[in-house]
């Protein structure tokens, strides 16, 4: 892991398109700002890891997989009538 020391308002470039800025430091908490293109997802690591664990649990990793019987069809996926509203902040 690359470790760099930064003071408040200093920043780090990750690749060509992502900038990480130290916005504030308060005791043991660091507030970071991320400037990245809209298409890049930015998330707290622990949330990402929680989703990983959940997906693996859903797929039944580690659990024995008994073959099923019965007809299997392509699922009919249809659009929702109710529209999810866009997120307020990005």
């Amino acid at each position: 892991m690359l470790v760099l020391s930064r003071k408040v308002n200093q920043s780090i470039m990750v690749g060509d398109n992502v900038r990480v800025v130290v916005v504030a430091v308060d005791r043991d908490q660091v507030k970071l700002g991320i400037e990245a293109p809209r298409e890049i997802a930015v998330h707290r690591s622990e949330i990402y890891e929680e989703i990983q664990r959940s997906n693996r649990a859903a797929a039944g990793e580690g659990a024995p997989q008994a073959p099923r019987t019965g007809a299997v069809n392509r699922a009919a996926l249809t659009p929702r009538k109710k529209v999810p509203k866009p997120e307020k902040n990005h």
């Binding site: 959940s54 997906n55 699922a75 659009p79 997120e87 307020k88 990005h90």
Partner: protein, 162 residues
């Protein structure tokens, strides 16, 4: 409404859960960004068992051992109000409500007593392009492990994806 596999231009995979599954290339749902926990897997089929029409199994075409059960969140949680982040609507090119649907991954707890649904990270599927992405609702209060109330499951007539 059930749709059976097309026989023309079809391929097959030997899945661990469902045995031999026949499919057409047009059935494939592409996950260009993979899935957290399965980042190398990008091609999936959406399958339903005849006796469990309310559950969608996302069966990996790349790894026949991997299939994730999911369901329409609004079947169980009528007031689910996910705010999709810009990176999701942008990268999946969602322009119109009729373009897409959401599926939330379901986990059966170890003792098979309970089901939980991941409302924090819905899978968004663009139905026009057949591309999908699992999206994290970072700023919401939704939980990865939202218990599915047994009563609502039964009311929907949905059997557990045991």
């Amino acid at each position: 409404m059930e749709v059976t596999m097309e026989f023309a231009q079809s391929a097959t995979i030997e899945t661990t859960r469902f045995g031999t599954v026949q499919y057409a290339e047009t059935d494939i749902i592409e996950f260009p960004w993979g899935l957290p926990g399965f980042s190398g897997l990008q091609r999936f089929l959406a399958l339903s068992l005849a006796e469990q029409p309310n559950f969608v199994w996302l069966q990996s075409v790349d790894d026949p051992r991997i299939a994730l059960p999911a369901a329409d969140p609004w079947q169980i949680f009528g007031d689910y109000d996910p705010r999709l982040p810009v990176y999701a609507t942008d990268t999946l090119q969602l322009r119109d409500p009729s373009d897409f649907t959401l599926l939330c991954v379901v986990v059966v707890t170890k003792d098979a007593e309970e089901l939980t649904m991941n409302l924090l990270a819905p899978i968004v599927v663009n139905l026009k392009t057949n591309r999908a992405r699992q999206v994290m609702l970072e700023n919401s209060s939704y939980s990865v492990r939202t218990p599915i109330p047994r009563k609502r499951l039964e009311a929907q007539g949905a059997a557990q994806p045991a």
